[in-house]
Subunit: 320 residues, 2 copies
């Protein structure tokens, strides 16, 4: 029987998403498995395998699955392991031989694994905004800032499988914010959803006399800042200008590294594109060498957000 | 007849170097052609071709040349052109179809062209400190700062052939020095030979009461700073600490991009390794994510400086 379908699994701290996908990027069936915070790796893998088997049966594609692609925090393409992933209790304190374990539980179907940002880039290349591109950089602006780099049509894994930690390059050198990673001034500390909320809180404190819709909100999130900007709030708009400028400045550095055709932005914060696009593009162009000014595109993901994580992971399985 | 030899040509503003090279990286014969500042591209190419033909005859390898590799400022691997190269009068104001022209003048021997920093990286991978490595970054610390990036054993050219302009990533964001490229704060403005000399002049002015061997020198060069450091001059040593710190901070960014096994430093300024190595390594490690701390090597080129440019260019020809 021809093996014309793949399974994509996106593993997250709250839940994991599974889908059966065809070559055009259609999700034929999907399911969600809630995280089980007290289970160990063996139990987690068994639950996922049962989910896969059930979903494949539901899609009527038993025996037709070419492979399983998995995107997971700290997933390593070379070793197939998930190691020291803070948000996954079963893989937080050591290394889990995930790809091998899952393949065994799924009757030997081959499994490929990478981190979630790389999976997102694979999805965008296979089905989305970067279709047909050989050189692009995907930046995921979510709770954190992740990245997947494609050069000459190949995903960049580097010497150890961990390449593409652009969220932890230095955006603000002096008196930079402390980042969750322990360093100061990382891009992620400014241009993630968490970073935008932090900017809002800092600016409200720093400008006690400036009126803002954000002032009355408890526990401000980046969504609140986006909503306020849509409602015409000046401070909220300035927050996106500032965030876009910091992002654009670093994008210029990345362009000078790998000369991509485009940068693709993805993730919760990328939804604020009407406020983020202009300042980001402007700052990038101002910081580029003349030969690239005005030539490198900034695009936004074209994948349906509900499908994107599954599609990204599934794209990896076509290479198996 | 087996074609077991290649020709390497390094094109520079002052002169061009030619060599016939075997597979082990031995330079069998070499020559130098002085720049002819008033000649046009056709004349320059003819002179080079005559030089190649003469040198091949001298090495006794007529009919045994597999290809010619050329490293040139602004050389583009994809198009084989040299365009808008400020230091080459014959290619300063337009694009020269160099690889094609040279091949025609050399009886059809294939020609591959890239920029000088990429050529240096190719040489280091074929014959030098990066032999056997699949992931490394070469940084050339000369008059300017160039770079050649190798990922998965492949030279990174990017979407347009111009990838690897790491000398023009931003090292100092606020009040950064004006760089020759027109931007402010570029790595090149601090960590090149010119940058080091500039630091010396600025610091002498800023600290008029501090004694220094540098104070009596007219037109300070980076070589003077190196010599002063060797003679125990405290300011000269601090200049290398400062230069190494700025370099190391940016190297951390580059590691977070492509996770190389090593960074290889090359060029005139790299000769000062006894003063540059420690501060550079320290700053790099301080700015790396924990997963890379202490794991990425900083190496210095192992190629004989007189041969390096020819070897680098020649390495490109093995792929023809």
């Amino acid at each position: 029987m021809a093996k014309d379908y793949v399974v994509g699994i996106d593993i997250g701290g709250q839940s994991s998403k599974l889908g059966v996908v065809d070559a055009r990027g259609e999700v034929l069936a999907q399911s969600v498995i809630k995280a089980n915070p007290s289970a160990d790796a063996a139990v987690i893998v068994k639950e996922l395998a049962q989910g896969v088997i059930k979903l494949v049966a539901q899609a009527g594609k038993h025996g037709e699955i070419r492979g399983i692609g998995v995107g997971a925090p700290n997933g390593n393409y070379y070793t197939g392991t998930i190691a020291f992933a803070p948000n996954l209790p079963w893989a937080a304190h050591g290394s889990v031989d995930f790809a091998k374990m899952l393949s065994q539980e799924c009757g030997g179907i081959p499994v490929a694994l990478t981190n979630d940002a790389n999976a997102a880039a694979m999805g965008e290349m296979a089905y989305g905004a970067a279709k047909g591109m050989k050189d692009f950089i995907m930046i995921t602006l979510g709770t954190g800032v992740g990245s997947g780099i494609v050069i000459g049509g190949q995903m960049v894994y580097g010497s150890d499988g961990f390449a593409g930690e652009l969220g932890h390059t230095c955006a603000v050198r002096h008196n930079g914010r402390l980042c969750g990673c322990g360093k100061h001034g990382c891009l992620e500390a400014y241009c993630s959803a968490v970073g935008v909320a932090r900017t809002a809180r800092e600016w409200l404190d720093m400008n006690p006399d400036e009126p803002s819709l954000l002032r009355d909100i408890q526990n401000i999130t980046s969504k609140d800042v986006y909503q306020a900007a849509k409602d015409g709030d000046k401070m909220a708009k300035r927050i996106f200008d500032y965030t876009g400028r910091i992002l654009g400045e670093k994008l210029a550095d990345f362009v000078e590294f790998s000369a991509p055709e485009a940068i693709v932005l993805f993730g919760g914060l990328a939804r604020a594109k009407e406020f983020l696009y202009e300042p980001t593009l402007k700052a990038m162009n101002e910081n580029l060498l003349p030969l690239w000014k005005g030539k490198v595109k900034i695009l936004f993901s074209q994948l349906k957000e509900s499908d994107a994580a599954i599609l990204g992971a599934s794209a990896l399985a076509w290479e198996l």
